[in-house]
């Protein structure tokens, strides 16, 4: 088709946060009547780009043009008034109000200041029927499914004379039927000439609905492609990138000794989070989990650790059938979990390195039996040295440490418990190359010492370098379990992630 003039053009966009270049010279354009997917791993800059566009953040460099005019929005409301509407993953509507009100509140049809309920309901029904939705508009929004709520949000967004509609992960909590309904609505809007910016972590959905995609990596533009001209494998490759790690090579991984099975998950699953999976982790074995963000990697870890309740299946630890109701019972069975979200779920920034390290051990002993100071110092000194935590000052506040060193503090906390299984969720994300290599070496040493490790990382090279066995996740399903031998390469792994089949 002859490309019409773009309705939206962003050029040379730069956005700096303290210490991070979130966006660096990114170009982006949106044509009327297209669904344009914005792709990239977590931290690639997708959400920053959307926030810059909708006026949540200012831009540091570059310019935005809407219909050929330069614009700069001071707030989401200003963006909305200019015709850029956003529907987020969490539906930002008032579920206590009726469907009709949610579409019209703030713009209700009135006569002499009196709200015309009848006119409002009629118009709401009209708008929804244009989206192929036939529901009772006077019922409260809460009585409808999330998918319907999502579409009501879209109806509201579109009725404000939208030219550009941004859908930020609208499908992440919808089931297949609901997604199909949403896509019908999206196609309908596309026909009306609305430009749709679509973000999703589900590759199949991207390929089903989008015409064109823009890929970001580490805040930089990788490129803009027609969806029909880019295979899934190429897409995943471009998203993850093939940075040849400038780390020294670890020696070839010795084959895992035939340790006894430590953790055996049998059809373990949780509806809506992860489909039932079967996974065995042996003593001294490093099991890697690969897959895109949102593919269910963390969900697997949380189920094994008891942080979420398993809906189905059984879990055995050391041959014994267990039901982990809380992380506490997992800790009691010598499981440890380093969360990917170290600030929110792990470290306490206002405590010192020593206090953060001792925390889990103290909790395991119970607060009535304080750990003697001398013992504390001994343990902390040992791990500060072993993990090379810098600055090597146990009384430093954790908030003052770099990301990599914070990660090591979190590791130390779990290591003094001497766990049998250590779950590491993205332990190397956002930390510098040196610290990354240290953590990788440590994982190798620990497993040589007999500890089992479940290693989750978005970086395939890293997973391959460390793991004896790699589980591949896609769309919340464990699709393959591959032995890490000479034949398994990042290409083969990328292929598996993209196709969902065994390589």
């Amino acid at each position: 088709m002859a490309a019409p003039a773009p309705i939206l053009r962003m050029s040379g966009i730069g956005k700096q946060f303290p210490g991070v270049k979130a966006l660096d010279g990114v170009d982006f354009r949106l044509l009327p009547g297209e669904v344009h997917a914005l792709m990239g791993e977590n931290g690639a800059g997708k959400s920053t780009l959307i926030k810059v566009l909708t006026g949540v953040y200012d831009i540091d460099a570059g310019e935005i043009e809407l219909e050929g005019r330069r614009v700069a929005f001071s707030s989401p409301l200003a963006a909305q008034q200019a015709g850029i509407s956003t529907v987020y993953q969490e539906v930002n509507l008032c579920t206590n109000l009726s469907v009709a009100e949610n579409i019209f509140i703030g713009r209700e049809p009135r006569r002499f200041g009196r709200i015309q309920w009848r006119a409002m309901r009629r118009r709401a029904a009209e708008i929804l029927s244009r989206l192929d939705l036939d529901i009772d508009v006077s019922a409260p929004l809460a009585s409808y499914s999330l998918a319907i709520q999502q579409m009501v949000a879209i109806a509201r967004a579109v009725d404000i004379d939208a030219k550009v509609l941004i859908l930020d992960e609208p499908t992440s909590s919808l089931d297949a039927g609901e997604v199909a309904q949403l896509f019908r609505v999206m196609r309908r809007l596309k026909e009306q000439g609305i430009a749709i910016l679509f973000v999703s972590h589900f590759l199949d959905q991207i390929y089903e609905i989008s015409d064109r995609m823009t890929i970001l990596r580490n805040g930089k533009l990788v490129g803009e492609y027609l969806t029909s001209e880019l295979s899934q494998v190429e897409l995943v490759g471009k998203m993850i990138g093939r940075e040849l790690a400038d780390l020294e090579k670890l020696e070839a991984r010795p084959p895992a000794r035939e340790g006894a099975p430590l953790v055996e998950a049998e059809r373990l699953g949780r509806p809506g989070a992860i489909e039932p999976f079967t996974l065995t982790i042996h003593e001294g074995e490093v099991v890697g989990l690969a897959g895109l963000l949102g593919s269910g990697r963390t969900e697997v870890a949380r189920l094994l650790f008891g942080a979420d309740h398993a809906g189905t299946g059984a879990l055995k630890i050391g041959g014994e059938q267990v039901s982990l109701r809380t992380p506490r019972s997992a800790v009691a069975r010598k499981l440890a979990f380093c969360s990917e979200n170290r600030r929110a779920e792990g470290l306490i920034p206002d405590l010192t390195v020593r206090e953060n390290i001792i925390l889990a051990l103290q909790a395991a002993r119970g607060w009535t039996r304080p750990i003697p100071r001398r013992k504390q110092d001994e343990l902390v000194d040992k791990y500060v040295a072993a993990l090379n935590i810098r600055p090597a000052d146990p009384d430093q506040l954790v908030r003052n440490l770099s990301g990599g060193n914070q990660q090591k503090v979190l590791l130390a906390r779990w290591l003094i418990l001497e766990p049998r299984l250590l779950i590491l969720d993205e332990p190397t994300r956002g930390i510098d190359v040196g610290a990354k290599a240290e953590i990788q070496r440590l994982v190798a040493e620990l497993s040589d010492g007999g500890m089992a490790v479940l290693f989750i990382s978005a970086e395939l090279e890293e997973v391959l370098r460390l793991s004896h066995k790699v589980g591949v996740l896609r769309d919340r399903r464990l699709v393959a379990e591959l032995d890490n031998d000479e034949r398994l390469t990042t290409d083969a792994l990328t292929e598996t992630i993209a196709s969902g089949a065994r390589a």
């Binding site: 008032c94 579920t95 206590n96 009100e101 703030g106 809460a142």
Partner: protein
């Protein structure tokens, strides 16, 4: 929607949102019938009108409280503002001010206090509980700067209003205060249902975050509800002055709690976003009827009122819990 056990038949006939109000209505009818069976001369229309007459001030205060609670807030200052209103009117009338000037001034004072508290709550992002608690102490303290004693009201306009009875035909009559309170209820119900301000009140209570993202004037709405509550408290204070014909710094102690109880018994969710003024009216009527029944009983001490209110509150809070749990499950 998840079903509410025990009320399946009811749910099929009426939408779930009306169920709490209907429960309160049924309770009121049941109490009225039980009273009529047990006591002679109870089951008359005048008994209900007397409840309106005796609780006109509480009804007006509870109307303001309904606005605040619908946004998810709370206003603890209302009882003190009522007392302050009685004190200001009594002392100014004693100084010979004209009645209507006093009434206007008192209403302005109440609205201004509410406006101030609302502005502090919104702009400094402080919990309404603590801001209105401060307002409660402030207003109560101001009463004592006027006088520590009770000041009688001898103004002709005030005594005339206090003694007038409006004949409704038959043996039925209402006081001007009760009429005012009913008019306030009607205006407030119209505002909540047919104006943008009213709908924004519900939206803010449903989800303040969403309301902001939908571009609604959340700041204006929140400040407005506290202003309305302050105004209603002052008006309630004037009605209280008509009723008692005096101003006293210790009057209306704990009335904020009665008002909150009436709103909650009327089926309004304390978390905001759900409830009706009709429920609040019924809540006040239930509270008033409990007192009437206890006075008919004669042998029971008035403290039984508190016991019944306590038991009712427990029951209604549990009922709300069931409902909010149900709607939350329905949302996912």
């Amino acid at each position: 929607m998840t079903s509410i056990t025990g009320l399946p038949g009811l749910r099929r006939v009426v939408p779930q949102k009306y169920v709490p109000v209907l429960v309160t209505a049924c309770l009121f009818v049941a109490m009225f019938v039980a009273g009529g069976v047990r006591y002679d001369n109870f089951a008359t229309g005048q008994i209900i009108l007397n409840v309106f007459i005796d609780n006109a001030f509480l009804l007006v205060v509870a109307v303001g409280m309904t606005f605040v609670i619908l946004t998810g807030g709370i206003d603890l200052s209302v009882g003190s503002v009522v007392a302050l209103a009685t004190m200001v009117s009594a002392s100014l009338l004693k100084d010979g001010w004209p009645a209507y000037a006093v009434i206007a001034l008192v209403l302005v004072i109440g609205a201004t206090l509410g406006l101030g508290m609302g502005a502090i709550i919104h702009y400094f992002e402080i919990q309404p509980f603590i801001v209105t608690l401060a307002g409660m102490f402030l207003a109560r303290g101001l009463c004592y700067t006027i006088s520590t004693d009770s000041i009688p009201i001898e103004n002709e306009t005030f005594t005339a209003i206090a003694q007038t009875r409006i004949n409704l035909g038959g043996d039925l009559s209402l006081s001007p205060s009760a009429v005012i309170s009913i008019v306030v209820v009607l205006i407030a119900a119209y505002m909540l249902h047919y104006t943008r301000l009213g709908r924004n009140v519900y939206a803010t209570g449903g989800s303040e975050q969403s309301a902001l993202l939908m571009g609604l004037p959340v700041a204006r709405t929140k400040i407005a509800v506290y202003t309305i509550s302050g105004f209603c408290s002052a008006l309630g204070g004037l009605l209280f002055a008509f009723y008692s014909l005096s101003g006293y710094g210790l009057s209306a102690v704990g009335m904020e709690l009665d008002a909150i109880a009436a709103v909650v018994i009327g089926g309004t969710l304390l978390t905001g976003g759900s409830g009706y003024l009709a429920g609040t009216v019924l809540g006040v009527l239930v509270l008033g009827l409990i007192q009437t029944i206890i006075s008919f009983e004669g042998t029971l001490s008035s403290w039984w009122t508190k016991i019944f209110i306590g038991v009712l509150l427990f029951a209604f809070i549990l009922l709300q819990r069931v409902f909010s749990a149900g709607s939350r499950r329905g949302a996912h």
